[in-house]
Amino acid sequence: MNRLNRDQMAARVARDIPEGAYVNLGIGLPTKVANYLPAEREIFMQSENGLLGMGPAPAPGEEDWELINAGKQAVTLLTGGCFFHHADSFAMMRGGHLDICVLGAFQVSVHGDLANWHTGEPDAIPAVGGAMDLAIGAKQTFVMMELLTKQGESKLVENCTYPLTGLGCVSRVYTDLAVFDLGPSGARVVEMVEGLDIEELRRITGLDLAFTKAAEPV
């Protein structure tokens, strides 16, 4: 079974981001997606701390610590990019102006509920940042995660057990084993890695997954 590594997952997500899309890549794993967007494809990266047209990291020593992304890393601005304040920035999300947002997750339900901000442990100090705004704001919210926890439990679930970030907001999940479309009628397998079949995928997730015969190998 050709499990995808994190770079391969990022490359797979990048394939689905068309030219002209306005995109926010969440902190962590989703940030890698930027490395796989072809340079000739004009895509607009937004960072919720107030920039649109975000470019790659500066060369070492060239950092400007007043030009950072939401992960507080030094970035650059592309020619044609611009700055704005926090209310306008979150209006871009909440107002449905972003096309795609890519987030990591603890769990995603087959109906698109997302849990990615809080483990729910009683002594954990909660921190939410922009996760809830991002989850429900973009026209499409993609999740990118390993399908199984280290203990082998599926992170795609019937119902999330972790505290929710948003309800019914995730439209597609990219994992190391398969790509799923989510919606009111549940999860549908779009692609699987070579060597995996639907019965095995149903077994390891414990889910009644719908399946398109034409489901391509990832």
């Binding site: 030219e19 649109l52 020619t79 044609g80 611009c82 107002g95 102006h97 704001g137």
Partner: protein, 228 residues
Amino acid sequence: MIDKAIDGAAAAVADIHDGASVMIGGFGTAGMPDELIDALIARGVGDLTIINNNAGNGEHGVAALIREGRVHKIVCSFPRQSDSHHFDAAYRAGKIELELVPQGNLAARIQAAGSGLGAIFTPTGYGTLLAEGKEVREIDGKYYVLEYPIQADFALIKAHKGDRWGNLVFRKTARNFGPIMAMAAKTTIAQVSAIVPLGEIDPEVVVTPGIFVQRVVAIAPAQIAVAA
């Protein structure tokens, strides 16, 4: 390459359809997208809902749309003016529906739509005819009226300069409703005096980021008529 520049006002408005809701920027002589409105009139579509601060002046722009019978409903703050005779006649004849909105609520409701809010409690209009039948609430000892967002299928606005990504800057008081209407419409069409190369607008001074603008049309500034 993404290029939001469109050649000519007619092409820019070519998909505005019967029954569309259309925001039109401008306040007085400043920021009125005259050439886009002319192109919309030329298209001949009707049953439009127009959102603008006024209900037309004289013979041009919104007044001409109303004169030609294209406007089903107008949402505005100040319809009655010395030269709003086309609106006045249509209104008295029962041919046009009017939603009268205090100017600040108009701005706030447009901004709420662009920002994805479901509704806002605003103090403006409380206790007046314009709040009749609306939900009110006392919050911290002050009274507010619940108002809903105003969104539109299209926005026609006039900016000063734009670039191929749709970034805009405005000129003086021609800014008025332009930036918030750009946020509140599904398709925003901006006429500008000039389309400049990407990067010529300083990233610190962009007023409307390109994410809010779908089409940019360069229209050379006309002789500006003296206000009626």
